[in-house]
């Protein structure tokens, strides 16, 4: 079971001090939070992708590559990578590069994005958002698994003889999670490919996402990847922890009430009780998180938001500490004890390499000498099976 944190990179006014961090301060704060998460033994740090203020993260791979260089063991992920408005070719290249630089400590979560103008800003049609997400992933999946891709579809220009470089580390693509909160087609796609399914589990009633998670589990089994309870499920959540319950509520309340998302329209108590948000002592957060396992079944990844709503850096770091030293160790033990036999862990780069090569050596693609294109001669890599030659475009 993996535990970690995810951030949307919001740059929000601190409702207590009244000051808003600069973008520069917030970017450095996020790096600090990720480093601390690594130090206290959390398994995952994930960052969002946005293209409008008040967010600071538009280029997750740049940020995560920097964090990779400063950390030792933590898996770096996204929450989410926009599979609609990004070119899947660029996603294939950027995340493969990140995967190399991070030594395999990379996976990614794909999502559609919910900011309407981002679609037209990037030349896309939001009414085609779902088609874009599905078709772009189909292409991304192939780009990471086939050295030379011929492709045509509706979402981008056709490809003939295209090779996404670099090839994934050890020729093993990063593991992919599909994030969805309402769309059965996304759950179906995750199930079809045997990928992970992630429900953000925030801003919605308790267990609201259960029908989608169950749909994914059933279809995962339908496609022969394992039993429904062996499907790879991730859940989000939001946490604010203090040693004493009343301190947690007291210290969190001004940030909650000052938040532009929650603002004045939600009551903290309603959200604490009616949604997966956990505010309380370490034990209370542990107990609430255990209800997720009861409700959704055994799952593989739990991420919390701990740095939103303008929390100052020191407070966010304290949250990371409390998660890493008190909440997660107890949850690891308890969830492991409750977990049914045969439920796998989430795939990691080492586990995927083992699954592909056993004890043998991993493939290390070496290009042939430069021919200027992939369209003539054999495949671009020295070891490519000659039977898998590219289909060449017709030349008049």
């Amino acid at each position: 079971m993996q535990f970690g944190i995810f951030s949307v990179s919001d740059v929000t006014r601190d409702a207590v001090s009244g000051s808003t961090p600069s973008e520069a301060e917030r970017i450095q704060a996020i790096v600090e939070i990720a480093r601390r998460a690594d130090e206290v033994g959390l398994d995952v740090f994930a960052i969002g992708e946005h293209h409008n203020p008040p967010f600071s993260s538009s280029s997750p791979t740049t940020l995560l590559a920097h964090i990779a260089a400063l950390t030792q063991q933590i898996i770096l992920s996204t929450s989410v990578t926009l599979i609609t408005t990004n070119d899947p070719v660029k996603i294939a290249e950027d995340y493969a590069m990140l995967q190399h630089l991070a030594g395999g400590r990379v996976d990614l979560m794909l999502g559609r994005g919910n900011t309407v103008p981002v679609y037209p800003w990037f030349g896309k049609d939001i009414r085609k958002g779902l088609e874009l997400a599905l078709e772009n992933y189909n292409l991304l999946h192939r780009l990471w698994r086939e050295d030379v891709v011929d492709w045509e579809g509706d979402s981008r220009t056709a490809l003939q003889g295209f090779t996404a470089i670099p090839r994934p580390l050890d020729d093993v693509p990063p593991f992919v999670w599909h994030g969805a909160i309402r769309t059965p087609e996304i759950a179906e796609q995750a199930a079809y490919y045997g990928n992970g399914y992630f429900a953000n589990n925030i801003l919605a009633p308790n267990f609201h996402f259960k029908p989608l998670v169950n749909l994914y589990r059933e279809r995962f089994a339908h496609y022969g990847h394992g039993a429904p309870e062996q499907a790879i499920v991730g859940l989000g959540g939001q946490a604010f922890i203090a040693r004493r319950s009343q301190d947690a509520v007291g210290r969190f309340r001004p940030y909650f009430e000052g938040s532009p998302i929650y603002g004045k329209s939600y009551r903290l108590e309603d959200i604490m009780h009616g949604t997966p948000m956990s505010v309380g002592s370490p034990q209370e957060v542990i107990d609430k998180t255990l209800t997720f396992q009861d409700g959704f079944g055994d799952y593989q990844r739990q991420l919390w938001v701990v740095d939103a709503m303008g929390l100052p850096l020191e407070m966010a770091l304290e949250q990371v500490e409390l998660l890493g030293t008190e909440v997660v160790p107890a949850l690891r033990k308890e969830m492991e004890a409750r977990r049914a036999p045969g439920v796998p862990d989430a795939p990691t780069h080492p586990s995927l390499v083992r699954a592909k090569y056993g004890d043998g050596p991993a493939r290390q693609p070496r290009p042939n000498a430069n021919r200027g294109d992939n369209l003539t001669g054999a495949s671009p890599y020295q070891d490519t099976d000659p039977d898998l030659a590219a289909e060449y475009p017709l030349v008049a």
């Binding site: 088609e131 309402r182 087609e185 179906e188 009633p205 169950n214 749909l215 309603d270 009616g274 949604t275």
Partner: protein
């Protein structure tokens, strides 16, 4: 055309008691809107009974749900009492919708409530439109605002709507209109139009997975995995073709 005579009495439409749900956005006690809705409900039940169609009516006043409706509008979270009202509408065989007219329009409370319903919650349901106002000059509010709203919801708005300004309460013609509208409601319910349309055309409308509609897909067994988008989800082209 199907009649009760030629379906051997086995038509499921005739089996279960029909449910009429009344939503009224009146706020006074007693509210004119609720009085009007009650009169319409009474006549509708009488007509249904004359057709040997067992029916029950439940009334949902929106005023006690005002805070819940506001919370749900800004938070997306439906408090339990609001959720139960939505579920009642979902399982209704007919709806009587009555709002007061404020500032030349339907009540904001009424519109806010409808805004919270899933797009497929009311598909083909007979809806009887009614409104009360302080002046007969507002008589077109029903046709200009309520009909388009329920048209968007793909509901079956009945031909006759009932509008009551103060003077109408002293006119027998109000009773005539109520009777005509109630007849339309009873006939539409008895004929099982909603059932028939949903049975044959449900997949042609937009739906929300695990939504509140009684026919909403809840599990994998309900889902059409051969739809164009589901095909695309599984690495195929959206439309079947030579490349499959």
């Amino acid at each position: 055309m199907s009649t009760s005579a030629d379906n051997d009495g086995t038509d499921p439409v005739e089996m279960a008691p029909r449910r009429v749900v009344v939503i009224s956005a009146g706020t006074n006690e007693p509210s004119t809107s609720t009085m009007l809705a009650d009169r319409i409900t009474q006549r509708s039940l009488e007509h249904l009974r004359e057709m040997n169609c067992t029916a029950t009516a439940r009334s949902r006043e929106l005023a006690p749900l005002a805070v819940a409706i506001a919370q749900a509008t800004v938070s997306g979270l439906s408090p339990a009492d609001l959720q139960s009202a939505i579920e009642q509408l979902a399982s209704a065989d007919a709806i009587i919708a009555c709002t007061p007219v404020y500032k030349a329009g339907i009540s904001g409370l009424f519109k806010s409530f409808v805004d919270l319903l899933d797009n497929d919650l009311l598909i083909a349901k007979p809806v009887l439109l009614a409104a009360t106002a302080g002046s007969s000059r507002h008589a077109l509010v029903i046709d200009e605002q309520m009909r388009p709203l329920f048209g968007y919801m793909r509901a079956l708005t009945l031909p006759t709507s009932v509008f009551a300004a103060p003077e109408d309460w002293g006119s027998t013609e109000l009773g005539d209109r109520i009777d005509r509208a109630a007849t339309e409601l009873a006939v539409a319910v008895h004929a099982g139009i909603e059932h028939g349309i949903a049975e044959r055309a449900w997949s042609g409308y937009q739906h929300q997975f695990a939504g509140n509609a009684t026919r909403a897909e809840q599990t994998a067994t309900d889902v059409d995995f051969e739809s164009p988008l589901m095909r695309l989800a599984t690495g195929r082209r959206a439309k079947p073709g030579a490349l499959d």
